[in-house]
């Protein structure tokens, strides 16, 4: 049972090599490190030596819930999975934040986190049930698809057991393989599934009937309602005339309006162009072909939610037709992304994208990185460029794929998609084995053999040395985006910055472009102190980037979802100014723990977490020269207004000198004075004594 507000008080430690299971107190890390990503970073610092490779038994798989996980805190079902990532060529620390119900169930089972180290001599899975944990034989589960594994585990432990695990891709050490949580969420980007596979750990199933204590339950309940009202209205409020549009459903209704809503006036009945989606952020219907099945009654669709979330962004579909799988997918990861992305491919939209998801899930491949990197698009590009021939891919191409995404080549059939995914997951054949090594390794080796592949590699691999980031960007301005991408562990703060919240305001509240621009000006002024953040200058950009990074870190520590991040800045439903409440993180923290923290204090508490992460990267060899991009990036049109010299010179200087960071200008190592001021003297000492890093004063 709960011992302190928000926390159960125990972190489970599992050594797979010896099979020994122990517990350590959560209070070693909180409240200073808030939770989630902050605690995971500190545990990693203490556990994983810098020379350890991602697939070494010494690497740790750290699963850490946030302080608000397992409470009613809105959209707070996320948790952090951190480890040394096998994805970049320079393997380094990274983390990911999947959501679902697993983190909540773990708290109800009596644990705040699980740290897995070592390597089991044979395949096992971990079963955590109400304060007890045991390793069980998974010989029969090894090699099975994710769905089959979950079926077996839930047959044994009941449908209320929440399961995270890996598919064949993780077992076969495909470097980008994610851990799939609850079958509909994944640890994007970092390759944690491959780390799990290297440990012979197939799954972690949890079930709990315990409780989580909350300091101010009524305040938390009110906060949830307050947050919901930033998004939408209840039926009663709509009936009373308070609200537009008249909906009584979750926010996802706005997003997809698939099964529930008749054709929305003024929007295309059928997707025409991917740009339509990106412009309107989802107001065209991604599942029109599904609608035939829905209308015929063979598929039932609805929304699915993570624990305690007012958004409910997962799309779930129950099928009685064997040609369409039952399943569900999270808003931006599993299901709807390809539906949107393929909105331009008329023949692939809907049902094939659901199969694509099902196979990605079952094989344990993340949908955004099953192929050579970012999307199937890259695969298509490589075919278009003639780098990949039918002989190489082992599949006849009946017609040449088009370079635009509007025409679908006949070859892109279900069979083709499935074959490619399976070959990657099982590492079959030279090409697919190379693809399983991850985008960076694959494209680099491909470009060495065939220079025609270089443009594709360059488009993806912009960062110098640490490719654990997305290649696109959603930050407030090119300048801010550049700073974030250059200095981050992985690019994550997109939703906290401007994009999503603002876009959904636009699409849901039915505003014009001019109105949205006005709203954004007000938002920028309130949040960043200046009306225009997208101007082509470096003024204020460092402080804005740091604000974005700290806000994002705050999300990962509480831990709340990007949705909450988005609506903390811009609210769909808060006229007249449509601004959100970015203090929601501090409010949640105070309600859950009873410890009063202002928004400013919370954001400041992120600085030591940033410096722990920085110290980890420094320990693993990162220095100033790696906080930059490859030369071709600076040559792109988006850099015309500035130069490599300016960015790598005074801009990085300003970033390093900011009190929030306090890094040495020559090396990028956190200064001793910074670390000590942030209560991290231990880290400074250990950097010098244990790891031979000279820490500048």
């Amino acid at each position: 049972m709960a011992t302190s507000y928000g926390w159960t008080g125990k972190i489970l430690r599992v050594d797979l090599t010896t099979g020994k299971i122990t517990e350590t107190p959560t209070s070693d890390y909180v409240p200073k490190l808030i939770g989630g990503r902050g605690v995971a970073a500190m545990i990693y610092w203490e556990t994983v030596p810098p020379e350890c490779a991602a697939f070494d038994p010494e690497n740790a798989l750290i699963m850490m819930t946030g302080v608000a996980s397992g409470t009613l805190a809105p959209s707070a079902s996320k948790f952090t999975i951190a480890s040394k990532s096998p994805v970049p060529v320079k393997e380094c620390y990274s983390y990911s934040n999947p959501s679902g119900h697993w983190s909540t169930e773990l708290k109800f089972a009596g644990y705040d986190g699980i740290v897995v180290t070592g390597k089991s001599p044979k395949p096992v899975y971990l079963w955590v049930n109400d304060g007890e944990a045991e390793l069980r034989d998974a010989g029969r589960l090894w090699g099975t698809t994710l769905s089959n594994m979950m079926l077996e585990v839930q047959n044994l432990h009941g449908p209320q057991a929440r399961v995270l695990g890996i598919g064949p891709a993780g077992e076969n050490l495909c470097r980008q393989a994610p851990i799939i949580v609850d079958r509909e969420h994944a640890t994007g980007i970092t390759g944690a599934g491959a780390v799990m596979g290297s440990k012979n750990l197939k799954a972690i199933a949890v079930r709990g009937t315990g409780a989580v204590n909350v300091a101010k339950p009524q305040e938390l309940i009110d906060l949830w309602y307050y947050y919901r009202r930033l998004l939408t209205r209840t039926p009663a409020e709509v009936a009373a005339g308070d609200g537009w549009p008249a909906t009584n459903r979750s926010l996802s209704y706005y997003m997809y309006h698939g099964p529930h809503m008749p054709k929305c006036e003024g929007h295309p009945a059928k997707p025409t162009d991917p740009e339509v989606y990106f412009k309107n952020n989802g107001l065209d219907d991604p599942i029109s072909l599904m609608r035939e099945a829905v209308d015929a009654g063979t598929v039932k669709m609805k929304y699915g939610g993570c624990y305690g979330c007012p958004v409910c962004c997962a799309l779930a579909y129950q099928s009685t037709d064997l040609s369409i799988p039952s399943g569900s997918g999270q808003c931006n990861d599993m299901e709807s992304w390809p539906a949107y992305e393929w909105a331009g491919y008329e023949k692939v939209v809907g049902i094939p994208s659901i199969w694509y998801n099902r196979w990605c899930d079952d094989l344990g491949l993340g949908i955004t990185n099953p192929g050579p990197g970012y999307h199937f698009y890259m695969f298509m590009d490589l075919i278009n460029l003639g780098v990949l021939t039918p002989e190489m891919i082992g599949f006849p191409l009946e017609s040449a794929p088009s370079s635009t995404y509007s025409e679908l080549p006949q070859a892109w059939t279900l069979e083709f998609i499935r074959t490619v995914l399976e070959k990657i997951a099982y590492r079959e054949g030279e090409l697919y084995d190379a693809m399983a090594e991850g985008a960076e390794r694959f494209l680099t080796s491909l470009a060495e053999k065939n220079p025609a592949a270089a443009p594709v590699r360059d488009r993806l691999m912009g960062h110098k040395g640490y490719y654990v980031i997305w290649s696109d960007s959603d930050a407030p301005s090119p300048g801010v985006s550049a700073i974030i991408e250059a200095t981050d562990l992985r690019k994550s703060p997109n939703k906290t910055t401007t994009g999503m919240g603002k876009s959904f305001v636009a699409s849901s509240a039915g505003l014009t472009d001019e109105q949205v621009a006005e709203i954004q000006k007000k938002g920028n002024l309130k949040y960043f102190g200046t009306e225009d953040v997208s101007d082509k200058s470096w003024d204020n950009k460092v402080s804005i980037a740091i604000k974005c990074q700290n806000l994002s870190t705050l999300m990962d520590c509480i831990t709340y979802c990007g949705w909450a991040g988005a609506y903390s800045l811009y609210s769909t439903y808060n006229p007249p100014d449509y601004l959100g409440d970015w203090e929601i993180g501090a409010k949640v923290f105070s309600a859950v723990t009873g410890q009063e923290m202002t928004h400013e204090q919370m954001v400041e508490a992120m600085n030591p977490i940033w410096n722990i992460e920085r110290a980890i990267h420094v320990r693993e060899g990162r220095r100033r020269e790696y906080d930059t991009f490859k030369d071709h990036v600076y040559e792109s049109s988006s850099w015309e207004w500035t130069s490599k010299e300016e960015f790598e010179g005074e801009v990085l200087d300003e970033y390093y000198n900011d009190p929030a960071r306090g890094w040495d200008l020559d090396t990028g190592i956190p200064r001793r004075s910074t670390l000590e001021a942030q209560g991290l003297k231990k880290i400074a000492d250990e950097l010098e004594s244990k790891y031979g890093v000279e820490v500048p004063e």
Binding site: M150, P159, A211, V214, K302, G305
Partner: protein
């Protein structure tokens, strides 16, 4: 659901059993008990040595009107998103902790079946088996304002009979609070159920009854 007539009959059984167990030598019960138990046996102080069919026959004779609840909470599993906000808001508002095991409305989320949901809510039955089964005077009683069948935590002895008597058992929305050794039950939050108010998909609705 049992009809009104049947419901009415049962309440007197409740009164009868209540008298037999708690009162021990309840006036109404004594004669009956004496008639169906051996004459030499003293009145039971533990489990009542009651021949149930006999009692059922007897209580048929004593119809009593039960106050009906103003309504009940119903879940549409077709739209339920499985977010479990209802569970959380229920125990946070009642117990001040988040403990789904105590939530008076709860679900099982079959993720592998496209998030098929099974869910249970208290129907505030017109013929409440839980109320009939409760052996303690006033422990499971009818709230005067809402007509909800509610549990008095002070009086509940944690015998779990109500939980097992529920027509939805074994998926009873009456839950057992092991820490306090009492049963907990939907009280309609005094007439404005929070689970309904907070459901993001409006899957939970408050169905009003004509009283």
């Amino acid at each position: 659901m049992p009809n009104e007539e049947e419901a009415a009959k049962k309440v007197s059984r409740k009164q009868f059993v209540k008298g037999a167990v708690v009162g021990g030598a309840g006036v109404a019960a004594t004669g009956v008990l004496a008639s169906c138990a051996p004459a030499a046996t003293p009145i039971a102080t533990e489990a009542p040595p009651v021949a149930t069919p006999t009692i059922k026959e007897i209580i048929k004779e004593v119809p009593v009107e039960l106050q009906q609840a103003i309504g009940y909470v119903e879940r549409d599993v077709e739209t339920c998103a499985g977010c479990r906000t209802c569970e959380a808001v229920c125990t946070l508002s009642h117990e001040g902790v988040n403990s789904p095991a105590l939530a008076r409305t709860w679900i099982v989320d079959y993720i592998l079946e496209g998030r098929r949901i099974e869910g249970w809510t208290c129907k505030q039955c017109q013929g409440p088996e839980c109320l009939y089964a409760c052996p303690v005077e006033g422990a499971l009683h009818i709230d005067e304002a809402t007509g909800a069948r509610v549990i008095d935590a002070e009086k509940c002895i944690g015998c779990k009979l109500c939980i097992e008597a529920c027509i939805q058992y074994p998926n009873s929305p009456i839950r057992y609070d092991a820490q306090n050794e009492i049963a907990v039950k939907c009280d309609l939050c005094g007439g404005d159920p929070l689970c309904v108010k907070y459901c993001p998909e409006s899957s939970l609705t408050f169905v009003e009854r004509e009283v």
